[in-house]
Amino acid sequence: MTLDLLPPGTRALITAVDWSALVAEEAARLQALGLDVGARVAVAHRGVFGGRDPIALTVGRMTVALRRAHARAMQVEAL
């Protein structure tokens, strides 16, 4: 399952990331924020006005906002 499909509130482990699907700077920024293979994440909030973008993730004790396109590059396994 990719991260964009993870139901809100479910905790999951990032198992693989397709970095080639992302712009280099964005990949670097996601890594800097701790979004990398092995990170435990959960979707805290998703979408505004009924849309599916953007997504707020909890990573450790941080909350990180990103877009669905980024989340789609990440494979997760529900915990």
């Binding site: 712009v23 920024r29 805290a44 450790g60 004790r61 906002a65 877009r67």
Partner: protein
């Protein structure tokens, strides 16, 4: 080590660096730019236990030494001593958020590995304890090999201990002077160190998760944001009125005093018509600027601003931008200069350029004097609905006009000159925090000072220069002074160009000095009407009354439309040149904005004439 003179704070964004910096240095801060770049350099004096003072700088927040934004680039170059004209700080103070230890230790390791004298400030330990985290500073110090001082910047805890540690910080053997670990290695180490230093971790009751459920709610969240923005703009206009009236009264009283006590003649006229009428008409807008910045600073300090960016991302994505552009654009409502400088946090260069180019379309506070004077003179003060006045509605309309124009321009730019891959939105949402009043007051004072300094320098010089051009050569018998003056002759030439869009000679005259700053248009009108006045009574008449007598309604409306677009601000052009490293983009900005200003002023004028207004 040579005598200790400099130290710098480094750390991740949202580590509480700025609050710690304020707490350590107090109100006496020096804000300038780093040599050659427009990244803000904040410096202050830190008193060591010995009584000696050193210079402490607050480096831009960074996630690592591999920079991905201009801000981070400056941090990296200063730390490594690679920025010409900026010697590397002698002691590095790494600021860590205690409740986000694992994440912040990743960058900390990189800095510590440089082998330079380093001290760690374990900041916000109170918030960590609130979250059920207890950390052992000694264990952390052992693991990192540098002193660790727990601090709570907002409560002034641990500051003396930190200053003492900075005073005795020593060189350590460098680990090859540049870190050779990979990000993954540092992350694993960070996890291990955090694990070892955390004494206990109970169930976290996280207040901010609850607040986020409300503020990031897909429907309630945007509603709250729009309600908040409505309150902000309402406050800017209603709260400021008594203060603005008081300032205006004070300036009027000074002017009367000068008229009563100084002998008649050119020096007195220079003081009353030039300095007081000109600079005074701008200074009265200080209360509005302070109120707008109060809300912006409070939203930033509380952590809400990042939520606003989250909520706005969807809308911004519609025109090819991201939620990140919301913060610079909101700041641009106060002033485009801090707005354009705030675009440095946007990683995508095309995104950043687009945001810079549309920032001047946000109605900045310098346009308020222009709008306020014209609206007060030409728009009847009557209620359209209970509690909703026509004047306020017109003002709101001008703001909306600017926003809509900005969005359309962004849409066009993203499909033409700044075409590129759709930009992303990646942003840390910081913890909610109660803003400290002292920090807010300090921020407000710094902004107010910048505004007053502008009024005292650029606006003062331009107003006085205009007064001189308006007064020489002196008019002969039966001749109007403005017609006879140098300025009048220049304006006659320009008037030919602007007459087709309904502007008269007085407007042409005010547009020239207003190239320096938009609000000068008001002071120039005030000065030229004061100089052109035939007698004392007319001279003392309010600017609004004079405008009403001399201008038609279509002209006034065209003047408003002009200022929605016209890029009449030298500082904005200068900051755009610096931020984009060249003249290309400021020239693009000037051309497209003047073009739109001319077209829309003309459309407004001829539309209003056709409607018989």
């Amino acid at each position: 080590m040579a005598e200790l003179r400099t130290a710098a704070l480094v750390g991740n964004p949202n580590a509480g660096k700025s609050a710690l910096f304020n707490a350590l240095t107090g109100a006496r801060q020096k804000i300038a730019n780093y040599p050659g770049v427009t990244v803000e350099r904040k410096a202050g004096r830190l008193t060591l236990p010995s009584g000696e003072a050193i210079e402490l700088t607050d480096l831009p927040g960074s996630y690592g030494l591999n920079a991905t934004s201009p801000d981070e680039e400056v941090t990296r170059r200063v730390i490594l001593g690679e920025l010409p004209g900026e010697p590397a700080p002698q002691v590095l103070v790494v600021v860590l958020d205690a409740s986000n230890l694992e994440q912040h230790l990743v960058f900390a390791q990189e800095v510590i590995a440089l082998g330079r004298p380093t001290v760690v400030a374990l900041n916000m330990v109170d918030l960590a304890e609130r979250d059920g985290l207890v950390i052992d500073p000694a264990a952390l110090a052992d693991a990192l090999g540098v002193p660790v001082i727990p601090t709570v910047a907002v409560r002034r805890r641990g500051l003396d201990e930190l200053a003492a540690a900075i005073a005795v910080a020593e060189d350590r053997p460098a680990e090859h002077h540049r870190p050779h670990t990979t990000l993954t290695e540092r992350r694993l180490t960070a996890h291990a160190i955090a694990e070892g230093a955390i004494v206990s971790e109970t169930a976290r009751h996280r207040m901010h998760a609850k607040l986020d459920r409300l503020f990031l709610h897909p429907w309630l969240g945007p509603l709250i944001l729009f309600a908040l923005l409505f309150v902000v703009f309402q406050a800017v206009f209603s709260w400021a009125t008594p203060f603005a009236d008081a300032l205006e009264g004070g300036i009027g009283a000074l002017s009367d005093l000068a008229r009563a006590h100084l002998p008649e003649g050119l020096p007195r006229d220079l003081l009353t018509e030039g300095v007081l009428a000109g600079v005074g008409s701008v200074v009265v807008f200080l209360p509005q600027i302070v109120i707008l910045f109060f809300f912006i600073l409070a939203m930033e300090a509380s952590g809400y601003m990042a939520r606003a960016a989250f909520l706005m991302d969807r809308l911004m994505a519609g025109v090819g931008l991201s939620g990140r552009s919301f913060i610079p654009l909101l700041s641009s409502f106060a002033c485009a200069i801090p707005g354009i400088m705030a675009t440095r946090s946007i990683t995508d260069s095309k995104d950043r350029l687009t945001t810079i180019l549309i920032a001047p379309l946000m109605t900045c506070s310098a346009r308020l004097p222009v709008y306020a004077v014209i609206i007060a003179a030409f728009i009847p003060n009557r209620a359209v609905l209970p509690g909703v006045g026509l004047q306020g509605l017109v003002l709101l309309g001008l703001y909306v006009f600017g926003i809509v124009a900005a969005m359309l321009v962004a849409l066009v730019l993203r499909r033409s000159v700044t075409k590129g891959a759709a930009s992303g939105f990646i942003m840390e949402l910081p913890k909610y925090q109660m803003p400290r009043l002292g920090d807010l007051a300090l921020g407000l004072w710094q902004r107010a000072w910048v505004f007053l300094r502008r009024a005292g320098t650029i606006i003062f010089i331009v107003t006085v220069a205009l007064w001189i051009l308006l007064n020489f050569p002196r008019a002969g018998e039966g001749e109007n002074q403005v017609d006879a003056s140098i300025a009048g002759k220049i304006a006659n030439g320009l008037a030919v160009v602007v007459e087709p869009i309904g502007f008269n000679r007085d407007i042409a005259l005010s547009l020239i000095p207003a190239m320096a700053a938009r609000e000068v248009a008001v002071s120039s009108l005030a000065t030229s009407y004061a100089v052109g006045a035939d007698d004392e009574e007319e001279q003392a008449a309010e600017l609004g009354e004079r405008l009403k007598a001399d201008w038609s309604l279509p002209t006034a409306l065209a003047f408003l439309a002009w200022f929605v677009f016209a890029p009449q601000c030298m500082s904005t052009i200068a900051v755009t040149r610096r931020e984009t490293n060249g003249w290309k983009w400021p020239i693009v900005m000037l051309l497209y904005l003047f073009g739109l200003a001319y077209v829309f002023a003309g459309l407004t004028y001829w539309g209003a004439v056709a409607l018989g207004l």
